[in-house]
């Protein structure tokens, strides 16, 4: 019972720590790291479901009978690509945000957004000096 579901519980712990980082951390890069942790844990969920006891990698060869399920592997290959695309795009946004706001902390950005434009300009200048 316990051993059969253990993998899923590990996944849940990883997934939830990722989600927590995304929500609770204010630093945008940390948020993206949390996001990629969150996504990677889903990969582990998929891959661990594909495993068959006694099977080996799904590449046909002589004298090999049991194979693990290839379909989740295919899906996760696609999902990894999606993950890196999202992360890269997010990082590009972070660069632009840093240039525009002078900070990558969520709190600072929210403060700067609520100030009138002229004041914010000044504040950024102050911050940079």
């Amino acid at each position: 019972m316990i051993t059969g579901l253990f993998n899923n519980w590990i996944v849940i712990v990883l997934m939830m720590s990722g989600l927590y980082i995304v929500i609770a951390h204010g630093n945008l890069i940390k948020k993206l790291i949390g996001l990629s942790l969150f996504q990677t844990s889903v990969f582990i969920l998929y891959i661990s479901m594909a495993k068959v006891e006694g099977g080996t990698a799904p590449i046909l060869a002589e004298n090999i009978k049991e194979l693990s399920n290839p379909l989740p592997h295919v899906l996760i290959l696609t999902a990894i690509v999606v993950g890196i695309s999202t992360t890269a795009l997010g990082l590009a946004l972070v660069i632009r945000i840093k240039e525009a706001y002078g900070s990558i902390e969520e709190e600072d950005i929210q403060i700067l957004d609520n100030l009138p434009q002229s004041k914010t300009q000044k504040k950024i200048m102050d911050g940079e000096q």
């Binding site: 989600l19 630093n27 068959v52 690509v81």
Partner: protein, 318 residues
Amino acid sequence: MNDLFAVVMLLGIYSLLSASFFVAMDAVDVAFTEAAVGAGISTLLMLVVITMTGRKENTKRHKPFLALIVVIFTGGLLLYGTFDIPHFGSADSPIHNHVTPRYINDSINEIGIPNIVTSVLASYRAFDTFGEVVVIFTAGIGIMALLSVAHHSEDNHKIAAVNDSMHERYLVIRIVSKILIPFILLFALYVQFHGDFGPGGGFQAGVIFAAGIILYSMLFGLSITRKVISQPFIQIISAVGVLLYGSVGLVSLLQGGNFFDYNVLLTDPVAGQHLGILLIELGVGCTVTSVMIMIFFNFAERRELQQHNNIHNKDLES
């Protein structure tokens, strides 16, 4: 831990670890990709960004309670859901008995290549892979739209001076890399064309090839690399990759089959499958290589621009 540099490095370790886990779970193709992407490209990109945005994280948490509630709720739901999941490794769970048996038993006759992952990826579910290529193409275009800068030809030597600090100081690494880079590129080609028989394929090859070029540009400066591989050239290659992939489908339409029906490409269906898979893997390889290089170049160029501005500001001050 509020040093982002350390966090990114640990993320790299985590990625290597999960890749080893994938190998242990028989998912060799996935492990291949995860190693190249997670430990290689994504760590590099994060490092570049951290050098531009600063290393320190504000330790103050906001909304920790909201986060905790969301996390507990979602985690609890998932935990509840796991109790009816088929146990780990059991051969009689539905996923091993419904769709997959055909892939395992018949793919060698229908497609004729030993790596089942490649045959599912490139033929049975070719359209998913097409989507995947388009996703990465989208990301490339999006990043270009966000970051691309008009070139400042003046003061180029100053940027170069900042840039070249690396390879002047490290003679040893320069020489070793000179030996390694051709090997990396060669190995990428091997992975590209060996994907039918072993782990590998267009995506993995693309990432490795791009990693080789990125290594070159890190050591010998961006400006030199850009002379060999210019931005417009890279853009064209990325478009050509997607078009190559898509036109395999269109050709099969013209031949009277369905979209991505490789059987009709040649008179012998299995040979047609071979040709189709070869072509689309090539398309994937082209797009992935060029987009990865494009992303890195845009990031690094932006970084140069910042440094350039910093130098400029200092000049003005003095």
